[in-house]
């Protein structure tokens, strides 16, 4: 079997003539936890839908657990757990009926684990799915996906709609699941602190392109934010490549640079800055810098030049 649980090659997707995904090469290693980030409409859900064979790609190849995504055999589908954005469960079914359906169709079913989840979340078995709150639907969906003991778990914004306690419970469950050997998780979320806590590898989508695809630690190491103070006005243009964002205020200039190295530092030194300090960046800040539009330098990345990739 391939070393990658998920592999896509040059995936392109058009919706009504509009390019939603533009040449995505995504590789999720077996046993890894991959956090896929992007703003609304960046194409995260579309990638997931293509991976699961719910949506055909306009061009390109995608494979999951070694099988072509568009024609996933039942044996491979049985190894995938999926929590959809918006928790797509059949609305007129009762919780009990949905559970029976999952039990009847799943290749594996861990009843003991599922009971534990039900007790944790206190889900009403006789209530219809349409009568459940958004949070309860999320809990039910998570419980169902996790009880099938998937080899690959795909979570599309799973904590959306959960309160703080339920979110914490979910994260603890996810960590428990992750601790079991060989599990791979593809995780999309807007709550970046969750992704930072769970993921060991990060992908950031911007306007249909994967601009970041590397390990979280490497991303933090490679993307630097510097506050540079000059004696006079800062130079109109800094000839440093891979500037993701820049901001000027008086004598001060704040730049976010990808792949910071000695050469870039030498170029900066030519302009004789009075001082420069590095501002530590959390994932959330890196994400905002990588995806925010409107910054002049970020325009370079509109062309799809990766900020950080394998």
């Amino acid at each position: 079997m391939s070393e990658y649980a998920i592999q896509t090659e040059n995936i392109v997707k058009y919706f009504d003539g509009r390019c939603v995904l533009d040449g995505i090469d995504l590789k999720v290693p077996q046993g890894g936890i991959y956090g896929l980030l992007g703003r609304n409409g960046a194409g995260k859900t579309t990638i997931i839908r293509i991976l699961l064979g719910l949506e055909p790609a306009t061009r390109g190849e995608a494979s999951v657990l070694g099988a072509s995504s568009w024609q996933l055999p039942a044996s491979v589908l049985g190894q995938i757990g999926y929590v959809a954005e918006g928790h797509n469960l059949i609305p007129n079914y009762s919780v009990r009926r949905i559970v029976e359906l999952y039990k009847g169709l799943s290749a594996r079913w861990n009843e003991q684990f599922f009971r534990r989840l039900l007790e944790t979340f206190r889900l009403p078995m006789e209530r219809k799915v349409s009568q459940l709150s958004r949070g309860m639907r999320a809990q039910l969906n998570l419980s169902l996906a996790m009880a099938t003991e998937p080899k690959l778990l795909i979570l599309d914004d799973p904590t959306l709609g959960l309160d703080t306690v339920a979110r914490r419970q979910f994260l603890e469950l996810a960590i428990e699941l992750i601790s079991q050997d060989g599990r791979t998780i593809l995780f999309c979320s807007h709550i970046l602190s969750d992704v930072e806590r769970l993921a060991d590898r990060i992908g950031i989508l911007r306007a249909g392109k994967l601009v970041v695809d590397c390990e979280l630690e490497e991303l933090k190491k490679r993307v630097r934010k510097l506050r540079v103070i000059f004696d006079g006005q800062p130079p109109r243009e800094l000839p440093i490549t891979e500037i993701i964002a820049e901001k000027r205020q008086g004598r001060e200039m704040t730049i976010t640079v990808a792949n910071w190295n000695e050469n870039k530092q030498a170029i900066l030194n030519i302009f004789k800055p009075a001082s420069y300090t590095e501002i530590p960046m959390a994932l959330e800040e890196i994400f905002i810098e990588c995806t925010a539009s409107g910054t002049d330098a970020a325009v370079d990345y509109e062309q799809g030049e990766p900020i950080c990739s394998r």
């Binding site: 949506e55 055909p56 589908l77 959809a84 469960l89 059949i90 169709l105 290749a107």
Partner: protein
């Protein structure tokens, strides 16, 4: 597969009940007509058959359209295909449920007429002469006609527009029924029905297996 078929039946129980009620009512009516009013029929068998066919078409067409329409609207297959279930399995289960519904709405009538004709003799059944061809062929054709209606429903149901599945499928089924009725229940009718069913099923399968769920 069994779970999928059961799910189809449970989700569309209204149509199965309607088919069973139609079959029972028609069997009773036809049995009563043949056996008790033998020779002095108030309604010819042909008219009863026509009424039954129209009701059957409504039910089976509705079943096919409802299966596909609600699947699309409630994104049922989108959920099922994330479990160890392929689109082909969902479609096969759907067809199996459709065939079962047709059988429920059809077999009791066949059994009743066969039983009654065995009791009183086929020649005594009033109105049968109006239906051309041997009785077994007529039954097979009626079965195919009902199934064709179901396939038309499947074909037109995969849309988010309510008007198309409701009126489109009914119109197509009625045209088909009229053609068969005018043409007569003979060998030629197979030549119309079997390719029609095959085309409808292929088109419905193609639409379902390539659509975004």
């Amino acid at each position: 597969m069994f779970t999928l078929i059961i799910r189809e039946i449970q989700d569309n129980w209204v149509f199965f009940i309607a088919a069973a009620i139609l079959a029972c009512a028609f069997s009773f009516l036809i049995g009563w007509q043949i056996y008790f009013i033998n020779g002095m029929q108030s309604l010819p068998i042909t008219i009863l058959l026509m009424v039954n066919a129209v009701c059957g078409i409504l039910i089976f067409c509705g079943l096919g359209a409802a299966q596909m329409y609600w699947d699309k609207m409630k994104r049922i297959s989108a959920l099922l295909t994330t479990l160890p279930v392929t689109r082909n399995q969902i479609f096969t289960a759907r067809i199996a449920a459709g065939l079962l519904a047709v059988a429920i709405g059809f077999l009791p009538t066949v059994v009743t007429i066969t039983a009654v004709s065995n009791l009183i003799g086929p020649s005594s059944i009033p109105g049968v002469g109006l239906v051309n061809g041997p009785t077994s062929e007529v039954w097979i054709l009626i079965f195919l006609l009902c199934f064709a209606s179901y396939c038309v429903g499947l074909q037109t149901g995969w849309t988010s527009n309510r008007i198309i599945p409701t009126l489109g499928s009914l119109l197509l089924s009625m045209i088909l029924t009229c053609v068969i009725w005018i043409k007569g229940f003979e060998l030629d009718a197979y030549l119309i029905l079997i390719p029609f069913i095959a085309c409808c099923l292929f088109r419905a399968w193609r639409t379902f297996s390539t659509a975004a769920l």
